[in-house]
Symmetry: C2
Subunit: 321 residues, 2 copies
């Protein structure tokens, strides 16, 4: 079992690599090697099998060809130019999120093997005037270039799977919280930082009201779902290889209450509420009423409580913990 993680340097890619190293097996087979590829050489976890890292820009077809060969059994395609970046720089979004994905798929098509390919799409494929709740048969109607590029990736993964070039599966990830690391330029950045920074003893700004609802998944649960996502039987997915990854809808108030239940009353005092109209304008268009029936029926899971998300952050990621 040879595994390739494209986007292996990111938050999810690194956690996935560490978890696979712990498990030592995937799809019932002992892992013999793992390659982590990213724009810059990713750090390599300790593992009972050889781990290599590679720097690769997936918009370069020749570089992609060097990553994937007949011995590659499972590919995680996590690499993407994120939402705000693909919106501010249309070219780079198209280059990586569309042509880069095509390069990976075309490389797989050129092989005799049909590797398992796990593609991370996003709930950003949904938007605009569609009825609630979002069901498995709701149209992806993206309102960002990132969402459009991810929806195109899903269609490609489906068609390349139907034709037997890959054994693909695409999961639309909820917003990951509590995401470790630093705040970034994503409009969703505050959805982790209002928990993460206070737990780290730092101030955080919340630009929306306490009753703002959104759909979340912990990084730990996301990784478990990505592992199961590689293991489920392709035929069990029916006429589409794309599905929502289950999450849970929480309000800001519920998230803060969960942090207080786990870590006491002090962290919440570090949150300052300061409305930011430009952030509100973006995040209030996001869908939060979703019914991921298909993924649940295949065994993928949401978090049990947001308290768990807080506990996972403290255990897995709190600096110095």
């Amino acid at each position: 079992m040879n595994i390739l993680i494209i986007g292996g340097g990111g938050v999810v890619g690194q956690k996935l690599a560490r978890r696979l190293a712990e498990r030592g097996e995937l799809r019932g087979q002992t892992i013999s090697s793992m390659v982590l590829a990213d724009i810059a050489d990713p750090p390599q976890p300790e593992a009972p099998f050889p781990v290599a890292s590679a720097s690769c820009d997936i918009s370069d077809a020749a570089a992609v060809a060097g990553l994937i060969d007949e011995s590659t059994d499972v590919i995680y395609l996590l690499a993407a130019v994120v939402s705000a970046h693909a919106e501010s720089d249309f070219d780079i979004g198209m280059r990586v999120n569309l042509h880069g994905v095509l390069n990976v798929l075309e490389r797989c098509r050129a092989l005799q093997s049909a590797p398992v390919l796990v593609f991370t799409s996003s709930l950003a494929v949904f938007g605009g005037d569609v009825p609630d709740p979002i069901e498995d048969w709701t149209i992806p109607n993206p309102q960002t270039s990132y969402g459009a590029q991810k929806a195109i990736g899903e269609l490609l993964v489906n068609d390349y799977s139907r034709r037997g070039f890959i054994d693909g599966r695409a999961f639309r990830l909820p917003t990951i919280s509590v995401r470790p690391g630093k705040p970034n330029l994503a409009a969703s950045s505050f959805m982790s930082s209002i928990i993460r920074e206070p737990l780290n003893g730092q101030e955080a700004v919340c630009p929306v009201d306490l009753d703002f609802p959104h759909y979340y998944l912990s990084p730990r649960r996301c990784v478990e779902n990505l592992i199961l996502g590689a293991e489920i039987d392709g035929d069990a997915m029916g006429s589409s290889r794309s599905m929502m990854m289950p999450g849970r809808t929480w309000t800001i108030g519920q998230m803060i209450d969960a942090m207080t239940a786990v870590a006491g009353p002090d962290p919440a005092k570090l949150i300052r509420f300061e409305e930011q109209p430009e952030i509100n304008a973006i995040v209030k268009g996001w869908k939060y009423d979703l019914n991921p029936a298909k993924a649940l029926s295949l065994g993928l899971k949401a978090d049990d409580s947001f308290e768990d998300n807080v506990r996972y952050y403290i255990k897995d990621d709190l600096p110095g913990a």
Copy 2:
């Protein structure tokens, strides 16, 4: 008003060109020129304005750049590698239906102007396990490469429109019947030939039962819808520029009865029923229960009766009529 019809040599492209020549105006403006582009130089209709033809393979970006400039006001993008061809030859489908569409869109993006672009998608974007009826918010879940490529085209037209690179609109065409010309390799070929050949005094084979239902539109009504499709206000389309073009569901029995009502009892005697399992396997997966509410609300129309479709064929296309 300068118009470009890419795919101007096809059945719909030729009828559209002739109708625009008759009208002499589009979007309230006098037409000053029209270019018909296709793989081979298309025939040019008589018109009160200059008409040029051009041979162009849209998978060649330089050739596309030669077709479109700042003076191009309206582009009809009808060219495509059809369903059976895109299924038997994956490369040519991707090259024309995906990269060719991208070439047209990228050329528009490079301009200062944002031309109106009317893209013909197909009801073949729908398929698989989705509930009936198909609504405007039903997921395109294509089960052919052609359908996948058309669904990708829709997403691109939407995003390029949202960003102001074009003023796009995408219409998912029903099966066109009665289509003039010769039978072809499409699985839907019999849906026109069982009417066309008997009206021409020739035998036709019907591979499905009398009660087989499908969703149809006459070429004449399709052209009227494509003209209105260029004229409707982009903002009126809301959060998606893609919609079903209205059609009507008829059974084979209803279609034959309509032919008999219009042309007497003799043509129907020329139809031979001969089950073809491989055709059945394809067409029985096609959706026929559709609710094109959005297009209807914008003024697009279906045919009033299949008798009209038969009359249009006799008037517009019957050889020697």
